[in-house]
Point group: C2
Chain length 244, copies 2
Amino acid sequence: MNDSAPAKSNAPQRRGRLSPDKRKSQILDAAQALFFAKGWEAVTIADVLAEVGISKGGFYHHFIAKEDLLDGVVNRFTTRALDAADAARGQTDGDALAQFNEFLAESNRWKIEQAKQLRFFLDAMLRPGNELLSYRISNTVADATRPVLRKILVDGVGEGTFDIPDVDLVSETILNLSHGRRETLEAVIRTAEAGDLDAATALLTERMSAEGVLIDRLLGLERGSVALSQSEEYRLMLRAMTQG
Amino acid sequence: MNDSAPAKSNAPQRRGRLSPDKRKSQILDAAQALFFAKGWEAVTIADVLAEVGISKGGFYHHFIAKEDLLDGVVNRFTTRALDAADAARGQTDGDALAQFNEFLAESNRWKIEQAKQLRFFLDAMLRPGNELLSYRISNTVADATRPVLRKILVDGVGEGTFDIPDVDLVSETILNLSHGRRETLEAVIRTAEAGDLDAATALLTERMSAEGVLIDRLLGLERGSVALSQSEEYRLMLRAMTQG
DNA sequence: AGATAACATACCGGCGGTCGGTTTGTAACT
DNA sequence: AGTTACAAACCGACCGCCGGTATGTTATCT
C-alpha cells in the first residue's frame, strides 16, 4: 500500500555499530583534529560526519549540539592537566616554596610529555577565528589549577614562608601570566622550527625567568627563590615539540 | 521582452535615505543594544534590520559581514577609552608615580562618566553566550591602554622612581588584573542594586586596595604608594551606575 | 543629464538541528 | 538452543533559517 511514495528502496548503509564510549571518543578525535586544523567556526557537523563515517542521526544520538563538541574536546584535553595537578597536590613534603617549585616542575613535566599535542593546541589557539576555543581552554585549565595553587599559597602564608597581601588576587595574577606567555611561545616555536634551538631556549628562559622574578615579588620572596629559569628543561621541551 | 517573468510589479518601499555616517552609527546603535540584550550569536542580521527599519541591501552596503558589526561596536565603545588615555598621556608633569596615579584617576573618571553604559557592558559581558564579545572588548581595551601604561613605567624606571624587573611583563600583569575584576564588579553591582551602597563600596574598595598593594610590589614601591583605594570615588561611581 | 551612492527585494547555498524509521545487540523467557 | 521483546545505535530525508549575493530601483550631487 501507498507505494506511490518514492520507494523506501535501498537499505541504509551499515557502517558498523560501536559502544557509546568508543563512538564518542572517535567523534571527539575527529572533531579535535578538525577544530585545530580549520578553527571552530569553520568546521561543520557534516565535516565531522564525513571524517568519522557516520550519519547525522548517529551523531545527534551522542551529542545534543555542536557546542557539545567544543566542551567535549576541551574537557578531554584539560582533564589530563587536572590529573597532573592532582598528582602534584599529593606530595605534601617540604615547605610551601618547595611545594610551589614542585608544582611548577610538575607542570613543566606535563608539558614535555604532551609537547607534541600541546604544539597543535598552541597552533590552534593562535589561529584566527579560534578565539572561542582558546578562551574556553584557558578558562578550564585555570579553573582546574586554581585550587591547587591556592592551597600552596595559603599553606605558605600559614608557615610564614610567603608574605602575600591577598592570596586570591595573587593566585589569579599568577594564573593570568599564561595569557601573555602564549605570544612568547609563538615566537619561541617559530625560532625552534627554524632550527635555532639555542635562541629559542634563550627566549623562553628569558620569559620564564622574568615570570619567576615577578612571582618572587608577589610571594614576598627573595629574588631567585622561584625556580622558573630551568634552561635545560625548556630545551628538552622544545626538542620534543619540534621533533616529529 | 521576457515578460513571462513574474512582473517586476510594485516599487520598493522607500524608507528614507541617510548619510553613511548617520546610518552606520544608527545600525551600530541597534546592533549594540541587541548584542547586549541577547548575545552576539543569538542576534541575526534580520533582527538588526527590523530594529533599524532597513533592508538587507542597505545593510550590506555599509557593512561587509556580520563580523563587521562586532568590530564596529567594540571599536566605537573602546575608542572613547583610548581618547581618555591619550588625554592622560598629555599631562607629563610630576614624576612617574604621580603620572601613574593620574592615569588611574583618569581611568576612574572615565568609568564614572560612562557608568551607565558601562553597566550594560558588564551585564552583556557576563551573559553566557557572549564570550566572544567579552574577549574582543578586553583585548581592544588592553591594546589601547598598553602603550600609555608602558610609557609611564619606562619613564619611572628611567627616573629611578620605579624598580621593575621587566617592564613589558609588569604592564601586561597590571592590565590582566581587569580580568578578575569583572567577577568582583558583578558582586558589587548586585550589592549596590540591592540598595546596600555602603557594602558595595566596601567590596569594591577592598578589591582595588588589594590591587594597589600588588602593584606597589610590582613597581618596587612602598606599600600604599599607588592610590587605588579611593572609597569616595567608587561610591560616586556606584551611585551613578545604579541610578537610572 | 548622467554618474554614483544609497537603498530595496528576491533569491541561494548551506548550516544546525529534527524526525520517523530501521537495524542490531542483548537478555529474558520458553 | 531458539524465539521474542525491547532498547540502544544508527540512518537519511527533511526543515527552517541564516548569512550573503545579484540585480534592480530611487535619490542626490555635480
